[in-house]
Each structure stands twice: as C-alpha cells, then as structure tokens.
C-alpha cells in the first residue's frame, strides 16, 4: 500500500509541464498567473511545445519568458505584433503568439496591432486588459474606465481630457483579417475553462491559417487598483464587465 497521500489515481490536477520552477513576480490576485497557466496547458495539450515561439511584451508580463519553457522573444514596447509577423512569415510552420497588456497593445503598439490584424497575420494575440499600467505603478491605460482614479488621473479619468476607454477588441473585430475576437475573464472556475477553450481556438486558427485571433482577458490588478484580490474580482465584475462584456465579438 502506498504511503503517499498523492496516489496517482487521485491526481486530478497538476502544474502544466511547460511551467518551470521560477517564482512568479506577479502580485497576489493578479490574473497573469492564471493566463500563463492556460497558455502553457494549451501549448502542451495541442502538442505545440517544440514549434511555438512566444513574443513577450513590455509591461507586467515582460518576464513571461521566465515562466514558460518555450522559445521566446522579448519585444520593444508595443512592437510584439511586428515581431510576430516576421517570425510567422519566415517560419510558416511554427505557432506564433503574442502576450500583451493594454498599454502595450492598445496605446503605444496600436499601429502594429491593427496592421498585423488587418493583414490577417496567422498569429494569436493574448490580450490582458486590466485598465491600468501595472508595471510602472498604476498610471492611466487606454482601457481605463471613465472616472477611474489612477496615478496620472488622480481625480478620475475625465473624457474631456483623456478620451474614452478604448474597446480595441471590438475595433479589431471589424477587420476582415481577424477570424476571432473574443473577450473573457479568469475570475471563476467556469470563466477559466471558457478562456482556455478560446485560447486553444485561437491557436488552432493560427495553425489552420485562418487569420489573426485575439483573445482579450479582462483582468484584475489588485495592486494598481489598490484592492484586495477578492475585492478586485468583485470590482472587475461590477465595473469592468459592463464596459467590456464577456463573449465572442467575432468567431468565424
């Protein structure tokens, strides 16, 4: 009789094989860890680990390459879709994805994002939208909600001064080059399952040469929002979801 309490037959969950032992730098309650895990699971389950090249952003996920044991390139701020375009065009048999935050994808990298999508590059874009700049300490993002306080909008985002929350996934969905534009979250077990399904769909689309897929994950930033992890989840559901509703915007 086994003395181990972890009898293999009882094992229902394990760390994805592609995630290494490096201690994550993400804050407690941050969505990045869960999304990293989903990406790692999808790559492994689809048998893509030897042909996948990830493009990391500038922002909180800049060190994504430290956690997933695949080949990575770390892009300049906002330029991940340009790198991904070249990597995929030069290596059409590889799986190429970018992992980007809202500042990277929807502010400084807007041109690269829109044009890669408009060309229908066969890449998957994982887009973390937490409505704030986490890495640099909580400044306004293009996706920051109206009246939301950040370190550069201390009195709240004022549309006269700062414009409106940019729904870039909706915008991308208008482009013929985009085959999948979908928005999810990872705040509940059910949401995590749905998000994983759509990340897998995005990867499959890339392999099938269907065009650009974007999976937006509406995420928490408990440190930037100055909330507890649980409080951040509640706040996200109450405030982010009405502006960034869950589900497919385009799925063909």
């Amino acid at each position: 009789m086994s003395t181990s309490i972890i009898d293999p037959k009882n094992l229902v969950y394990a760390k994805p094989v592609l995630m290494n032992e490096t201690q994550m730098h993400y804050c407690p309650g941050c969505s990045h860890g869960v999304v990293h895990k989903l990406v790692a699971e999808v790559i492994d389950e689809m048998g893509l680990k030897e042909i996948t090249i990830g493009i990391a952003p500038v922002g909180c996920a800049v060190f994504a390459y430290d956690y997933l044991d695949i080949d990575w390139q770390e892009a300049a701020h906002g330029r991940a879709p340009a790198l991904a375009t070249a990597v995929k065009r030069l290596n059409p048999d590889k799986m190429v994805f970018t992992y980007q935050g809202d500042g990277d994808l929807a502010a400084i990298g807007t041109a690269e994002t829109i044009h890669a999508a408009n060309r229908g590059e066969n890449i998957a874009i994982i887009f973390i939208n937490n409505g704030i700049y986490g890495m640099t300490g909580g400044q306004m993002a293009p996706t920051t909600l109206m009246n939301m306080k950040t370190s550069t909008t201390p009195n709240g985002r004022d549309t006269h001064e700062n414009g409106y929350p940019l729904k870039i996934t909706d915008l991308l969905a208008q482009l013929p080059g985009v085959c999948l534009a979908t928005r999810h979250s990872v705040h509940t077990a059910g949401a995590v399952k749905k998000a994983k399904r759509m990340i897998a769909k995005a990867f499959q689309n890339s392999l099938d040469g269907k065009g650009t897929s974007i999976v937006e994950i509406v995420s928490t930033c408990s440190a930037g929002w100055k909330m507890s992890p649980a409080g951040a989840n509640d706040w996200m559901v109450e405030n982010m979801f009405p502006v960034y509703p869950m589900g497919d915007i385009k799925n063909i």
Binding site: K49, E50, I51, T52, I53, I55, A56, V62, F63, Y65, L68, D69, I70, D71, W72, Q73, E74, A75, A76, R79, A82, L83, A84, T85, A86, V87, R89, L90, N91, K94, A111, E112, H115
Partner: protein, 360 residues
C-alpha cells in the same frame, strides 16, 4: 562562360544582391531616395524562387521590429530606409544591438534635419557611427562609393553581422543609391535550411526541441551587475571588431603633402579633385574609409606624420572630421569642407577648399 555585367542603380543592385546571396527576409517602408530597393524586390518576387519574404510594413517602426523578429530566428533579414526613416527605427536598432542580433540595415541618406530634402547627403554619419539609439552600442558601418560596392556590401554586411552577432549598416547616400553604373552581381547561393540555421545560430528562437533549454531573445536585465556584464561583453565584442575589421582604400597616396579623407560619393568627387590638384602640382591623395566604424584611426595617424595637413570632404557640416581629428590628435591641421542641404560638391570646389584651408 561570359561574365554577366549589368547596368543598374545602386538601390537596384542591393535588391538583386540580396536575392542572390540567399537573404530570408526584407521588411521596409517606402521613402525617397531608396524606394527602388523594395520596388525591385517586389518586381522580382523572390518568394516564388528562393523563398525570400518581402514585406511592405506600415512604418519604419514596424519594419525594424520585423527585422528584430526575423533576426531573433537566426534568419538573414534586412531593411532599408533613408535618414528620417532611420531616425524612426533607432529604438529598434538599439534593441538589435543589445540583443546581439545579426541583420543588415541600409540607409540611403538624404538631407536633414526634419523632412529636410530628398537630395543626397551624408549627414547621418553621427547617427549611424556614434549610435543613433540609446545605450552604449556601436554599429558596423560600411560606406559604399560605387554601385558595385552596393552589391558587394550586402554580402559583406551579412558576413560581418553574423560573424559578430550584431547589426551592420550600409551607409550610402542618395548619389550612390540613384546613380547607374556597371555591376557584377554575386553568384546565386541558396538560403540556409532550418537545420543549418540551428547549427550556425544555436541561440535562434525556432521552437525548443526537447534536448535544449528555451532560447530567449531579450535585452532586459534588472540586476545591475548582470546588466554591466552584458555591457562589458558588448564592449569586448566591439574591441574585437575594431581589431579585425577596419577597411579603407588609399588613392594616389604615395609621396603626398596633403591628404583628403572622404567616404561614399564625396570620395568619388575627391578622387577627381586630386587629379585636378595634381595637374596644378599639389601632391594630394585620398584616403577613403570603407568602414566608418570601426574607423581607420591607425592609418590616418600614420599619415599625420607624413603630410602637412588633412582635409575631410563630407556632404555634411563636419561629422567624420571629428574622428579624423581624434586620430591625428593635433599633430597636423585637420579641416573640413562640406556642402549641405542636398548640394553635391564639385571637384573644383574641393580643389579651391584644399588650397584655401590647407594653404597650398
């Protein structure tokens, strides 16, 4: 078999040479006076023959970052632009240098600053040679003075870039890009296979096989001690390049009293100018740096003990003259003659400047 000689523009020669030597990808954005490079590539459609990828990007920012992505895969990738477009690329250039990524950049210079002019200039010497982007880095810089060298330096640029795992630039000017001359193009060479790239560039991100650790192309090191090591490694590499890769041409430099130092089309003009000057009895030769970095410091210093003065001829307000003065270290007078704004100096103007500034 008879030798194939073509008549074409410098820009066209670059495109044909790139296809022939097995370049994997070109990513660029149109700008005068170098748009013939991408136009020629598109017309030749090498994706149907060699498999070379040619892409018109949405901006120079995108094209330099496409080069970064391709270079990170160990591919032979290149871009080309002109002055203001190169300015836009400088963030990416710094990343390529910091990431130790081989690639070829081509700047067919026009006059600046700002939009400036579409006419030829050499005013990006500082930007290219001194590091136009941020951080401590150097750029292998080749200065062609003929259409033949435009063709030849594509191969040489890639050879040096891969030898030292660092970007290289062909710094041409609008004259060299636009003028037509005879050219012998390089022999056709097939593109490397993925297996060959994996062997040549074990760091390339082409997908991680089971038997190695992940490859990561990054320029980020938050630990200052680690970052300083990265900086020192770069500097050590640059020292090696300075020791091994200096190239220059001496034209009529035997028994000279005066030396003209000039690169690119200014060197071609100076070559004519010394003929005129010699007809007047002035003993003058031209030293043409082919590599602007690494700069031919030693040979210029040697000439400083043989001549009465040195004149640099540049299509700018005086940029390379600073490196010549550093080489000479005050031993003889070093003066500069230049025309700006897209004006191409005439050989006669150079002779007049030589007499006035050197007192000969």
């Amino acid at each position: 078999m008879s030798e194939e000689i073509y008549l074409m523009k410098g820009n066209e020669a670059i495109a044909h040479a790139a296809i022939r030597i097995g370049v994997d990808g070109y990513f660029g954005y149109p700008i005068t006076p170098q748009s013939e490079i991408i136009e020629t590539l598109m017309a030749e459609a090498p994706w149907t023959t060699t498999g070379m990828v040619v892409m018109q990007a949405e901006s120079e920012t995108a094209s330099i970052n496409m080069v970064y992505g391709g270079a990170g895969c160990g591919k032979m990738v290149m871009t080309s632009s002109s002055s203001t477009g190169m300015s836009l690329m400088q963030e990416g250039v710094s990343f390529l240098a910091g990431g130790n990524l081989p690639c070829l950049l081509i700047n067919v210079m026009r006059g600046g600053p700002g939009l400036g002019t579409i006419q030829p200039s050499q005013s990006d010497y500082f930007q290219t040679v001194k590091g136009g982007g941020h951080g401590d880095y150097k750029m292998i810089t080749l200065a062609p003075a003929s259409v033949q060298e435009m063709a030849d330096f594509v191969d040489l640029g890639f050879e040096l870039a891969f030898k030292y795992s660092t970007p290289a630039t062909i710094l041409a000017d609008g004259v060299i890009g636009q003028m037509m001359e005879k050219v012998k193009l390089p022999e056709f060479r097939r593109r490397r296979t993925e297996k060959e790239i994996r062997e040549q560039c074990p760091w390339a991100t082409l997908g991680k096989p089971a038997d190695r650790k992940p490859n990561v192309i990054t320029t980020l090191q938050l630990d200052s001690a680690v970052m300083e090591k990265c900086n020192l490694d770069l500097q050590a590499k640059y020292k090696e390049i300075e020791a091994n890769e200096i190239r220059y041409q001496e034209i009529d430099c035997e028994d000279i009293d005066y030396l003209i130092v000039a690169f690119g089309s200014a060197a071609r003009i100076s070559q004519k100018a010394i003929e005129l000057a010699r007809a007047e009895g002035i003993k003058v030769g031209v030293l043409r740096p082919i590599t602007l970095w690494p700069f031919p410091t030693k040979i210029i210093k040697e000439y400083a003990s043989k001549v009465k003065g040195i004149l640099t001829v540049e299509m700018n307000a005086g940029q390379m003259v600073e490196d010549v003065r550093l080489s000479v270290n005050g031993q003889v007078p070093v003066e500069h003659f230049g025309r700006l704004g897209g004006i191409i100096p005439t050989p006669n103007e150079v002779v007049v400047a030589l007499k006035e500034k050197m007192g000969c």
